[in-house]
């Protein structure tokens, strides 16, 4: 219980620090933090299902749906408000997750992972063959407004409002997921991972629990996708739905560990940091550096980077 309260307080402090650093840091660092946080939302979603022993190799599907949902709202429906656009992205990913969940929630292990991949590649196929959506080139998304306020063209892409919105959304999502993971439904994920038969014979619904987790993970992925697209100002199938994107989220999830809701954001920031510097200083071998980092983490920190903050608790207890 102490750890639970500590996590909540750490999240309170983290959001204040994140909001405060924007004025101190150069724009490119703020942009990197904003992207890390947006991607961290997807990884947080993956963490929710990973606690139930499930891995998705296709969460780019929901990331892409979130991104395209927001982008289509802006370009094709003329909606400019960032809140509404993000909401559109979330609705798109949630609806599809709800529909797919009826089928996918019955599968486990590699079948669960690959079915998600299959659906994401299905969407990728549709998008690259859709001329009206810009095919492989995608399309640009205009700068959004914030409840009527439109940032001036002289401002940096990551306006204070978009950055603030992302920070607050990440803070709210992390708190909500933390609360959820410590509820009965949250604990049921670990119970399902350990022994589905016993969950059934305690009167718990395994399928319903997985369905709820799947939809939660899609909501988070959709939100992350919408924020990323608004940040970058452009959406393409390859940057959102393609399998390499899904793989990247799994990569960060393993790097982060599933011990705490803060882990995905820390892992995501480390990933962005390593990738940025590896690209800058070793452009020929940057993938090797990323792979090497993951290899080291798997070998020495099997429960991810979060285990470093747990004082080397190799069991990776829940917090």
């Amino acid at each position: 219980m102490i750890l639970r309260i500590r996590t909540t307080w750490c999240l309170h402090i983290a959001v204040i620090v994140l909001l405060g650093v924007q004025v101190l840091l150069p724009a490119w660092v703020v942009n990197m933090i904003a992207l890390s946080l947006s991607n961290g939302l997807v990884v947080l979603g993956l963490m929710v299902i990973m606690r139930a022993g499930l891995v998705s190799f296709g969460h780019g599907l929901f990331f892409g749906l979130g991104g395209y949902g927001a982008a289509l709202g802006a370009v094709f429906f003329g909606i400019s408000d960032a809140f509404v656009l993000v909401l559109l992205g979330i609705v798109a990913s949630t609806l599809i997750a709800f529909l797919l969940g009826f089928m996918i929630a019955s599968y486990r292990g590699i079948f669960f992972a690959l079915l998600n991949l299959a659906f994401s590649m299905l969407l990728f196929g549709i998008l690259v063959n859709s001329a009206v959506l810009g095919s492989t080139d995608g399309f640009s998304v205009p700068v959004p407004s914030y409840m009527g306020y439109v940032p001036s063209s002289g401002e940096t892409r990551v306006s204070f409002l978009l950055y603030g919105l992302i920070c607050v959304a990440v803070y709210g999502s992390a708190l909500a997921v933390h609360r959820y993971l410590n509820s009965t439904m949250g604990y049921m994920g670990e119970a399902i991972r350990e022994n589905e038969v016993r969950v059934d014979y305690l009167g718990g619904s395994v399928k319903k629990t997985i369905m709820v987790k799947y939809v939660i993970s899609a909501i988070l992925a959709g939100m992350g996708g919408a924020f990323t697209v608004l940040l970058i100002g452009h959406v393409t199938p390859e940057d959102t739905v393609f399998w390499t994107r899904s793989g990247e989220f799994v990569f960060v999830a393993i790097l982060s560990g599933t011990g705490n809701v803060a882990a995905p954001f820390i892992g995501s920031a480390v990933f962005e940091f390593v990738r940025t510097y590896a690209l800058q200083y070793a452009p020929e071998v940057w993938q090797m550096l990323l792979g090497g980092t993951l290899l080291l983490v798997i070998m020495f920190l099997p429960n991810g980077l979060w285990s470093l903050l747990q004082g080397g608790n190799s069991k990776g207890g829940r917090t």
């Binding site: 509820s183 009965t184 604990y187 022994n195 038969v197 016993r198 059934d200 014979y201 305690l202 718990g204």
Partner: protein, 254 residues
């Protein structure tokens, strides 16, 4: 006597093997029914059918007058028929405390399952009280998968008992437990059950345990009930001694 569970003419075949052949029985909430039979006699199949893991080919299973033959295990559990397993079904990588805590949460004792924290002062006290009642409090923080067999069995039974069932089915509760611990273990279970309205049906190979704790015994052989009655009657039935208890145990007096 209140017949909470009624099994009427159920049959089950696995290919050429008959696992249940016109099985009829009933169980009240005030009795302890022992089920005996040689390996492959259909005892566990019978438990699996009552708890929804298997569906009988024909016949009806009723609980408090409701037909539960086609219900899922989860639905049957929710109605009040709980079970433990021959191989304990626990959450092996979680602590003993977390096993009970999750059982409490799923059983709905701690309400608002989606949002309210499961770990509260109240749930901690309840879980610890259960661990004390089953005399496994010393193992509170141990991983359940690393426990001795007897403790794992007790944990499995403790989890099955969470949610106050009306009927408790125990599949070989003392199997794998050392001879001197068997009675202690059964005493613990019976102590916990005392005072509550719980009908117990337990499958057991140890005839001493069956004779000591059952108020009624049913003997199975090749999917059929071959004898039913009070323990002394059934265990001394020559047919049961021949078919069920086995020639090597004929000399054992019960």
């Amino acid at each position: 006597m209140n017949r909470a569970l009624e099994v009427i003419g159920i049959n089950k075949r696995f290919g050429a093997v008959s696992a249940a052949s016109n099985v009829n029985m009933s169980l009240g909430v005030d009795e302890v029914l022992g089920i005996i039979g040689a390996n492959g006699a259909g005892k566990t199949t019978f438990l699996n059918m009552v708890t929804g893991y298997l569906r009988p080919d024909s016949g009806i299973i009723r609980f408090r007058g409701r037909n539960i033959t086609a219900l899922e295990p989860r639905e049957i559990t929710r109605l009040g028929i709980h079970r433990s397993f021959q191989i304990p079904q626990i959450f092996p990588k979680l602590s003993v405390f977390d096993n009970i805590l999750i059982a409490l949460g799923i059983a709905g004792i701690e309400r608002n399952r989606f949002w309210s924290p499961l770990l509260t002062r109240g749930s901690i006290d309840t879980a610890e009280a259960i661990l004390r009642r089953y005399r496994i409090i010393d193992y509170r923080d141990r991983d359940a998968g690393l426990l001795p067999q007897g403790i794992r069995k007790l944990l499995d039974i403790a989890m099955a008992m969470v949610g106050s069932p009306s009927i408790l089915l125990l599949d070989e509760p003392t199997s794998g437990v050392s001879a001197d611990e068997k009675m202690l273990m059964m005493d613990t279970i019976i102590d916990v059950l005392a005072g509550g309205e719980v009908g117990v049906l337990f499958v057991e190979h140890d005839m001493e345990v069956v004779a000591h704790y059952s108020s009624r015994v049913i003997a199975f052989s090749e999917g059929e009930i071959v004898s039913e009655g009070v323990p002394t009657e059934v265990l001394n039935d020559p047919k049961v001694r021949g078919l069920v208890i086995g020639k090597d145990l004929k000399s054992q007096s019960v």
